[in-house]
Subunit: 348 residues, 4 copies
């Protein structure tokens, strides 16, 4: 019963097969391998963006920090939420890569509204050299609390950014889960909604370690290439990044995996809705659940072998409610889900 | 006939098998996977360094830049050769990661002598705040021109560094090829020779993309961990780095591969020695050959499908000597070697 | 009627005389001038800190950014208020000088409480490599809204910092005004209250452009010297920084100036308290006043030649209340104060 | 007999008078003072550059590092000589301000030739992401060894830079001495010779601490303003920088001072030419002399109170030749010069 993170899961068979398949013969290095051309073509087709610049890196933090530093100058502030991965979970990678940029925290928790964004943009800068200058908007989709911006919400937010001449970046670490949940196309969730650059997550949804970085305006491409190399993120045997992404994209493997994962999560959510003592902290929309349970039920779960993030100490009053995060990885068993739900429901 | 680079080769079967084997079940992320413990144990055993801190990253540039930035402060200068990979081939990654450090070029080409190092250290700094402060010594083994420092040479160089209180780093992108060529142990070529930290290359000798970073004094370990994360080089699905390194280390796969590769290179070198118009620029010691040939023979080679770095234009006078680099990757065919030698010898 | 900023004022006669006096003969450069020794001795005596390391730079932002970067590593977050000068008014100098550090905003507006600080320290970091590491506490005294931390408040805040092993920095751009207002010694307001390093402001209280940086633990001194030079803040003709500070410190010129300025401010505050439509936003404690007035009175003031920061548009409804900042510089005329009060009171 | 450095001298009376004169009344801060307008107008007139962007900072290192970081991106290399101040004497300020830029050392010692520059530009980069990208040319005029580039030499060098699309910066710490020596105009020595940005030195030639930064193409002006603030080099009481520069420029004070200083230096050079044991290392062209003398004469000089940089130990064989640097500051006495010459000639 492993619900700790989607990065505890292995790679999809389609991805691993592509890697194994790629492991023969010679290939040009540093991104000039043949598979990369195929990857670019597939990405451009999916995103209906024939001009897009497409790059691969091996971690989500690299994708975010490199993309944002291409969009933001050192004296710019990036507008994100207080729970944004780039703020909380990247050990200052964005500040490092931008050369001392800042993050301005907008709204409450993991989502922002156009009003809060407008207020932050206007409220922050004085138009002189003393304060930060206005930098890009950075959104996470699926958000860090498992929620999803609707297309309308995305459009409204990027509209505010554009009105101030700002670009917009999407941290799509769980891009596929969001897209499948919204039932929209990759284009609709990105450039058609005003997004300029996206970290197109592969790792969490079934790759070993690969993330795309896509710029819909290819103007900054060469600078990104220099930033990637200087950041030590350009792979010599790049074929293994290409192969992963190829296996991921080919035959819609990525969409199928996300759909299957979301379905498993939906089964879990639905079961937990009926658990008398289970309280959702956020309405879940994809494959993450934030909730609370009394400590005694946590103990039952852990004793039964369930693994997940518990946001409080294991010891304490029996009935005290303790927060938790459950992530349904693609490889989670339905039987494990059902067993978890039963215990959480107090049925065992 | 592919002699372009060892990074055009695929991964060793032992490495790929380990990766495939690792692709099941759940694993803790960010370096807490079970295989990583095995990797650390194997590295410590190989290097006879039970206290060593061992880390994995995915590129050689990351290994170098992160290791050097752990050893050097922003106002330090790193002593390296004019042909050092960190100077020529990393797009300022060392300067970026050190926060504005400098590289002081010592000696001629790819090797330095103790005398040149001593002169550079003494000649450079004035002991005040105006010039650079003295930072680590950085050596590459196998060097960028395919040569190898003997153990005595290494010891003499690090002795100079130590006398000035400086640490020493080894860029071991081709660590195994050098070690096998010297017939020494990993410990002898590193800490026993005065090296404090090493980039322990895996990629070129048969991994997909993994390099170890080893600190024999584990004091800087926590700082390295922060630098790795901040540089976006900490893998979430770290198991795939661990697995590669495990497959590489287990059963001496790495030594066998390097020995086999060096043997192939020796066959090529020996053949080329008899080629009447082939002139070595450096005495080769591992799997790289730097030489010149008349243009007409280059044309014959290229026409026959040989691929390698040619250091001059394809067009020009027939008899003009043009420089070249040949790298024997682990997967190169002996038949290709023999054929190359024949053409280069003018026998075909 | 100039109340825009204390940096619109000229230098004190004592400071200018010292500069003129220093303008003869040869002097060693880069801080080795004879006056600097006198400055260090005077500072150490005032602060009862015979071991303190004392440096001079020319801007307050340099003092803050260099001091904080000496205390904080690139992955540390600095705890300050949302209105801190280092956050709002330094164009990312702290982020730049720390190499990508972060600022964590504590409390509301310009002051923080020990509880808020404790909550921020505990709430922020997870003790792993993903989030920021905990860096120094940064307080401003006089605060950015003209208030003052009592010695007890300072001690309570630094006690929280110390309990977590964190250092404390004081931005003392208006150090003298605060000290005079509290009626305490320089030592009491700094190291005796748990402060480790202080930006000892000279410019606003009557210098041309000089700020001291004082480390009570001289251990980081050499690093500071390198940071100062590397930041291009080491003056060649350092004598002119020394001379300013000497004129400022000698014969208690700095305390007398601050006392006189605070007295003028008190006269103004007292007068404005009786102004029927004048509303203080913060209880003023030194030489800054934050308040609101109806727009029509602003118009009267501006028409009469009063100059100050107005936090809203000049045009709009007559009776709308508009925010304002008044700063009483040392050279402000009492007659101007009285006239301003009269107009603000609607008496003219 | 003080010949240590021109930064051991005081400020010109014209400069100090202007500062004293400026010390009254209120002035807008941060560069909006009235004097700055006058300074800009004077600079633009002198340089015949009505569109030029003109800024003031307080140190030469700040001028250089801020100007170069405006011209060079983090992955660019700056072409300068091995003895360039930016390489030897700025504690990595250029690397820090450019965010990890590199310096490529061209030529021998303190001057470069067009051929050496061409070779360095072509030889360095491979046009891919691995090596440095090509950044600005950086020349020092007067050079660090007291020599001067002729206008023809300047034009030939910038012609090479322009042919490769590179900009050119002049470190004019001793701008006036060079200009007076060449007998040319400020425009001729800068933009008419292909220079894009200049650090226009004031400090060494008689200011307290002020340097202009001039961009002939004002396009990068706003970025420079942000860099200046972020580097903590924007003065609040900017009037004191303006006043210095105003006193320096008004009535040609700067040219007169440089002419007088050069004349004194010429007197010294002429005297030393006849000193039997004095050997010039470089043909002096302005106010710096690099030479050698036997140790016994150094001893005589030092015993008589002469102060200058001696490039070797005071103790050792009597007749060993020891290097030295003499700098004639504007305030040096002719009597001291004559006495120095006499002792150096062995006449005393």
């Amino acid at each position: 019963m492993m619900f700790k993170s989607d990065n505890c899961a292995p790679a999809l068979p389609e991805v691993m097969d592509a890697v194994v398949e790629a492991n023969q013969g010679f290939q040009s290095s540093y991104g000039d391998d043949e598979m990369m051309e195929e990857v670019s073509a597939l990405v451009r087709a999916e995103f209906e963006a024939p001009e897009a610049a497409v790059y691969l890196v091996s971690t989500g933090t690299a994708a975010n920090a490199l993309a944002l530093s291409t969009l933001a100058r050192p004296w710019d502030t990036i507008f994100c939420t207080p729970l944004a991965h780039i703020h909380i979970d990247e050990c200052h990678a964005p500040e490092f890569y931008t050369g001392g940029g800042k993050l301005t925290l907008v709204g409450e928790k993991d989502k922002m509204t156009p009003e809060a964004l407008e207020a932050a943009i206007i409220g922050w800068t004085k138009g002189d050299v003393h304060t930060s200058q206005r930098g890009p908007l950075a959104l996470t989709q699926v958000t860090e609390r498992g929620r999803i911006y609707s297309l309308e919400e995305l459009r409204a937010l990027t509209r505010v950014a554009k009105a101030h001449g700002l670009t917009a970046h999407m941290d799509g670490a769980r891009f596929a889960n969001a897209m499948v949940s919204l039932g929209c196309s990759a284009a609709e969730m990105t450039w058609k909604a005003g997004i300029d650059a996206v970290s197109f997550g592969g790792t969490k949804n079934g790759c070993m370690g690969v993330e795309g970085v896509i710029f819909f305006n290819p103007e900054h491409a060469w600078e990104f290439e220099l930033r990637r190399k200087r950041g030590a993120h350009l792979f010599s045997k790049h074929r293994y990044l290409s192969a992963q992404m190829l296996g991921y994209l080919r035959n819609d493997a990525w969409k199928k995996a996300a759909a299957a994962t979301n379905a498993k999560a939906a089964r879990m959510i639905s079961g937990l809705r009926d658990a008398p003592e289970f309280e959702f902290l956020f309405e879940p929309a994809a494959n993450m659940i934030f909730a609370t349970l009394p400590r005694r039920i946590h103990r039952d779960l852990q004793a039964a072998g369930a693994r997940y993030e518990m946001h409080g100490p294991f010891d304490g009053p029996e009935d005290e409610r303790i927060g938790m995060r459950l992530v349904v990885g693609w490889s989670v068993d339905e039987a494990d889900i059902d067993r978890f739900v039963e215990i959480a429901s107090g049925k065992i």
